[in-house]
Symmetry: none
Subunit: 259 residues, 2 copies
């Protein structure tokens, strides 16, 4: 086996693959092989792992990124474990929506599943800054209030100061929020400061804040800080969440629902 001077460590290589795939949208195995100077077998093994992690979707000849953009496939991908988890969380969250309540729906795939469930309801009011959520509800369903603002294409959400203009004028019973990461020490965080700002503002205008996040987001910290745990009333996650993590949160008075 011939190795180059600086053989990348496995996780490092996988991260490079993930980024390459994300940047291209889709990438073929052969291109990755040439790029990383390893055998196709290695690439395949890496892709297999990345698929389990929900980062990419494997297709014949290569892989499609599941991060950002083209992930219209979140719905299609029924086999994906991560996707199933999100769906379960969304269903549980939906069960919390009471009669004639008003709710806020954040961007992200978990809340998108919720939007789909809310299609059946006509007694509630849904406030959202997620373009996809609005699309789900644009034919029929509840009353829909959309926060305006500037379109952030990567997340398909509306952000920025103009969103605030609308948000300042409303209150909701329950805010269902997604997140990119949450940890005990630093609270909740996401990638974009503008989005973080919108989330923070919503949290302030909601009677109850419900965080939807599968365990893969645990102990991860993103660039933009959203809020501390004292803003959160309920966390809905899954059983892979570390026990002491759950314990600590409950001690702080946060209801934790594990699915």
């Amino acid at each position: 086996m011939i190795q180059e001077a600086h053989p990348a460590l496995a996780p490092e290589r996988r991260d490079r693959i993930r980024i390459l795939v994300r940047e291209e949208g889709v990438t073929r195995v052969e291109d990755l092989r040439k790029n990383l100077n390893v055998s196709v077998a290695t690439i395949r093994r890496d892709l297999e792992i990345l698929e389990e992690e929900g980062k990419v979707k494997r297709v014949h000849g290569g892989a499609v990124s599941m991060e950002s953009r083209l992930e219209e496939s979140v719905f299609d991908d029924k086999t994906n474990q991560a996707s199933k988890q999100k769906k379960r969380i969304a269903e549980d969250a939906y069960s919390l929506v009471g009669h004639e309540e008003s709710v806020f729906l954040d961007g992200g795939s978990t809340t998108l599943f919720m939007a789909r469930l809310l299609q059946q309801r006509t007694d509630v009011t849904v406030v959202t800054n997620s373009l996809r959520a609005v699309q789900e509800l644009s034919d029929s369903g509840p009353r829909v209030i959309f926060t305006g603002g500037e379109l952030r294409r990567i997340s398909q959400t509306m952000v920025g100061p103009l969103s605030s203009a609308v948000l300042e004028q409303i209150r909701v019973d329950k805010a269902f929020m997604g997140t990119m990461g949450f940890c005990l020490k630093n609270g909740i965080s996401t990638t974009d400061p503008n989005e973080a700002y919108v989330k923070r503002q919503i949290a302030e205008h909601a009677s109850q804040v419900i965080l939807l996040a599968d365990s893969s987001k645990a102990e991860k910290v993103s660039f933009a800080r959203v809020s501390d745990w004292d803003q959160v009333d309920i966390l809905i996650s899954d059983h892979d969440l570390p026990k002491d993590f759950v314990k600590t949160l409950r001690k702080r008075g946060i209801k934790v629902r594990l699915l």
Copy 2:
């Protein structure tokens, strides 16, 4: 089997097909084949899959897009004379959009054609309260500012007091407005008072108001009054507009462009 240097991955190719079909409204198999450099058999197989996914509808000789629900009614209908007229008007209106300008796009099918044209531009800012326009521009294109508000399902626009909260904070160089009816005596009118209110507000915040309306709307009066003619700077319509109608408007200082 002969392969070229960079054969597109199957999902990538299908996505390109989906987009090509969406952009054209309807596309023939043969055109897709030439575009993508694959055999017709492959195109057919792809269309079969896209049809299962509900993205396109297959017809003899090609496929029709099922996305952007408007295709069904408006884009589809290439033979429809009214539709052609609207497209011409939209193209003329688009030619008025200068470099780095900010424009407002109203709801309605004519402005939707404009949205489609604006997809290519990245130097402008588009403000709109039309959900469909945002959908057109959600993948790529100019900066998009969406007015928030309550979703009015029938027109797929955002209306109500919350829209105002955003509109009050912005100004545009040009506002492109559709209408349900316009007549010399009563000015411009539309069906819904909420929408009329939004239009009025936009007109006040635009340096130039450009009315897009084919001649079928002439001398029609709808329920909700939008504004008088003195608000309008340019009218783009077609040659079927009565001559004295044009004359009177020009006398009042309104530029009239007939196509």
